[in-house]
């Protein structure tokens, strides 16, 4: 028996002339957790689709459990014990937990008559594989993402999975839920399962993986044990670029201590948070950190007039202000890069140009109509200024990668010349390269006197980017961490 459960050799796949995969090799040992990393669009999902049989490769072979396949089909793949857990597509949201757990077995038994009692027994057995404790009659859509994932995993295990592919499983999970998932993964590994873990979060990879394969532009660029891979090398393989030391903050030169704070919150309360007080000086980058549900997003939205404050005061540059609408916020120089860029930050099918200039429509109105040459010129300037990678800024914004989309959201708000820039989860779903670009840009803006507020649950990001951070837990501000104290370890302790 071979040492490898999965051995892909020279897998190629192209879509209409675009080479999505070029001679990709991917080998996973029996009983190991193997990490598959790479930026968006590097071919991670394409190789997974080949392995799971949804989109067979053009050439190359996939050897699984000793058998060589020229191409796999979904049913063969599942029969052989390959199971893929997608982020949220693996469950039926409008069915109950019981139905979700039992459905595969019921279908594969080719049972014609639906039997509630029998189904319940199957569901209980499936739950037992992971030791889950869920109410079988709950609708799955009401459950947190973590539970949905566990349901999908339990179902996969009951279907006699030998090889589990987890596609970015931690994206929507809180830190605690990630811990739980990792425990389960270690447990499964101990039982002899092999796991392919797809991710782009470096700290998680170090925590859970034995070995790693990094892909870039459809090719395998690195494969080897996880432990010997340094962070610099990782970034290098991921992006093909090297980044100079980003930890160099130069905080003290930047922060304007002698002026009035750009924004000061006094005992501010709103839906989802209460009693938050802090101030931000011009030139300062302040974090707001806490887990999902800690109230950081609600705080950001309240400062931007999306939600209403219920108590306390907001003072902008020494003047107390009431913010009850987005117009109020922008008038006072507040801008927000929202948490969900796809639904809140951007009009996806609309041009990059219009996405950038939408906040300044009034400025571009000449007489009665919009002055579109001026609009186009301004947008072109911004695209150049902050390096949005695109051939044409009149293309829909959805043609851009995540990082470049985020730059468009930034450009939109920077064009209003804000005094206070709030960013909620500024680098979620953003490639490493674009992430560093955004960090550099924010530092640069702060140097020019902008007050920057960064709400994030990415502790590495907070510790690297921010001069100081406000910690929130359960809607309450529990303290501030600054300077030398601002480390990932301290933050981890503080947010729990």
């Amino acid at each position: 028996m071979s040492e490898y459960i999965l051995d892909c050799k020279g897998v190629c796949k192209s879509f209409g002339g675009v080479h999505a995969l070029q001679n990709v090799d991917l080998r996973v040992k029996r009983g190991e957790v193997h990490c598959l990393a790479g930026e968006n669009g590097c071919g991670k999902s394409t190789i997974i689709k080949a392995i799971s049989g949804f989109q067979p490769q053009d050439s190359g072979t996939i050897e699984f459990d000793g058998k060589v396949y020229q191409s796999l089909s979904p049913s063969v793949s599942i029969d052989q014990g390959i199971q893929v857990i997608y982020q949220d597509m693996s469950v039926f949201p409008n069915l109950t937990v019981q139905e979700n757990l039992a459905i595969n077995t019921v279908i594969s038994n080719k049972q014609k008559i639906y039997n509630h009692r029998q189904q319940r027994e199957i569901a209980k057995k499936v739950m037992a594989t992971l030791g889950l404790d869920l109410d079988l009659d709950d609708l799955v859509e009401t459950l947190p993402v973590a539970s949905k994932q566990l349901i999908a995993i339990a179902r996969a295990l009951y279907a006699k999975a030998k090889f589990l592919i987890l596609d970015e499983p931690t994206t929507a999970l809180t830190r605690k839920e990630v811990e739980r998932l990792f425990e389960i993964i270690r447990d499964l590994k101990a039982k002899g399962l092999s796991i392919l873990f797809v991710s782009h979060k470096l700290d998680e990879m170090y925590e859970i993986s034995d070995s790693i394969t990094i892909m870039r532009s459809g090719q395998t660029v690195y494969t080897g044990p996880m432990a010997t891979l340094s962070e610099e090398d990782f970034t290098h393989y991921m992006t093909g670029r090297d980044f100079s030391d980003v930890d160099n903050k130069h905080a003290e030169e930047r922060i304007q201590r002698d002026t009035q704070p750009a924004i000061e919150l006094n005992n501010l309360s709103g839906s989802g948070f209460a009693g938050v007080s802090f101030k931000v000086q011009p030139g300062e980058i302040v974090g707001i950190t806490g887990q999902l549900g800690s109230g950081r997003s609600e705080l950001c939205n309240t400062l931007f007039g999306i939600e209403k404050a219920t108590g306390g005061t907001i003072t902008c540059s020494g003047k107390q202000v009431t913010i009850s609408s987005v117009e109020d916020a922008t008038r006072n120089g507040i801008a927000l890069v929202p948490e969900d860029r796809l639904t809140e930050g951007l009009f996806l099918p609309v041009s990059i140009m219009e996405n950038i200039t939408v906040v300044n429509f009034d400025k571009f109105t000449k007489g009665l109509t919009l002055d579109s040459p001026a609009q186009i010129a301004e947008s072109a300037d911004w695209v150049k200024e902050i390096h949005v990678k695109t051939d044409d800024h009149l293309l829909p914004v959805q043609t851009l990668s995540g990082g470049n989309q985020q730059k468009v959201v930034l450009a939109k708000w920077l064009s209003t010349k804000p005094k206070i820039l709030i960013l909620n989860g500024p680098t979620v779903g953003v490639d490493i390269g674009a992430k560093y670009d955004i960090y550099a840009l924010l530092r640069d803006l702060a140097k020019q006197g902008l007050a920057v507020l960064v709400a994030s649950d990415d502790l590495t990001e907070v510790s690297r980017l921010c001069d100081r951070t406000v910690v929130m837990r359960g809607g309450i501000m529990t303290g501030e961490i600054a300077d030398q104290e601002l480390t990932v370890e301290n933050l981890t302790k503080a947010i729990m």
Binding site: F347, V350, L368, L395
Partner: protein
């Protein structure tokens, strides 16, 4: 690439223009003088104005991501109010009284539209249900006002629909004027672009500082205004108004808006395309009347085929564009 962008906006317009020309040529060949006479053109021009204006009103609702089923009933209510006011204060056709009645009707149209917009944006009723409700309400009020009968207007008022300038009927001039005004309003102004963006993604527009409520209410109000103009023209043309007059226009306006390039899901659509689609539909209908060997009963079936064919074509085009 800039030209491509321009083409994209106007492609629905161009397509409709091509279809219009093809139909006119085909009609001229098959029915000759029957179709292409001055009288034929004038009947055509008068008829299309009413549902033409309502189609523009509906298109605006559709662009913001909604729909307006109450257009015809706003028109009838405004027509009824105008007619009753004229009978009350200007039974002899005094011009001031007529002007007052018209202004009253237009203001009522704005209010009806405001109610629709308020229900949709502030209360948050799904547009289809909100306007279905106001459709019942407006038509109910008209029934009460008219005791379920048709209301006759004084003969002097019917003059307006028959005025011709250089041989072109006044109603048609009104339609062209409104089409131009609303093309500019929707295509070239900040308000028009905001309306589109609200339709694309209301959440993102809120985060971009657009006042969704105001924008949606304005869109429905302008729609109400257009409907009341349509109501006045129809009152003048047929010299009477009834609560359920022209109820078949409701579906027809939806057909026109979609043919003209409005996306039923909101966000896309321009008035030039819609206005041309109005002409296309009227031309087809005229053609059917002019050609002796096609029975007029086929009209509805043909409209159905047209809409389904167009939607299928659009679906495939969008799908292919998405893959690229």
């Amino acid at each position: 690439m800039a030209t491509a962008k321009k083409l994209k906006i106007n492609s629905d317009f161009l397509r409709m223009l091509v279809i219009l020309v093809v139909i006119i040529i085909a009609a001229t060949i098959t029915s000759g003088s029957n179709f292409f006479s001055v009288i034929s053109f004038q009947t055509m021009a008068k008829q299309l104005t009413e549902y033409g204006l309502m189609s523009i009103a509906l298109s605006m609702a559709m662009i913001t991501g909604g729909i307006d089923l109450s257009t015809v009933y706003i028109a009838n209510l405004c027509g009824a109010i105008a007619s009753l006011t004229i009978s009350a204060i200007a039974p002899e056709g005094q011009i001031l009284g007529i002007i007052f009645a018209c202004i009253l009707a237009l203001a009522l149209g704005l209010c009806c539209g405001a109610l629709n917009g308020f229900l949709v944006s502030v209360v948050g009723v799904p547009p289809m249900l909100a306007t279905l409700g106001t459709y019942e309400l407006f038509s109910g009020i008209t029934i009460v006002l008219s005791n379920g009968q048709s209301i006759q207007v004084i003969p002097q008022f019917t003059v307006f629909a028959n005025v011709e300038i250089l041989g072109i009927p006044l109603p048609f001039i009104v339609f062209i004027l409104m089409a131009v005004i609303f093309s500019i309003l929707l295509g070239k102004t900040a308000f028009g672009r905001r309306m589109h963006l609200v339709g694309v993604n209301p959440k993102a527009s809120r985060f971009a500082g657009i006042n969704n409520e105001k924008t949606i209410i304005m869109a429905y109000m302008l729609g109400g205004l257009l409907c009341s103009i349509a109501g006045l023209i129809s009152l003048s043309r047929v010299s009477s108004v009834k609560a359920d007059f022209g109820s078949s226009y409701v579906m027809m306006t939806i057909l026109i808006a979609v043919l003209g390039g409005c996306n039923p899901a909101g966000g896309w659509g321009e008035i030039p395309g819609v206005a041309t689609a109005v002409l296309v539909l009227q031309a087809i209908s005229q053609w059917l009347t002019a050609v002796p060997w096609i029975n007029g009963y086929y009209r509805q079936a043909l409209y159905g085929i047209l809409l389904l064919g167009f939607m299928t074509y659009k679906f495939y085009r969008d799908k292919n564009m998405g893959r690229r």
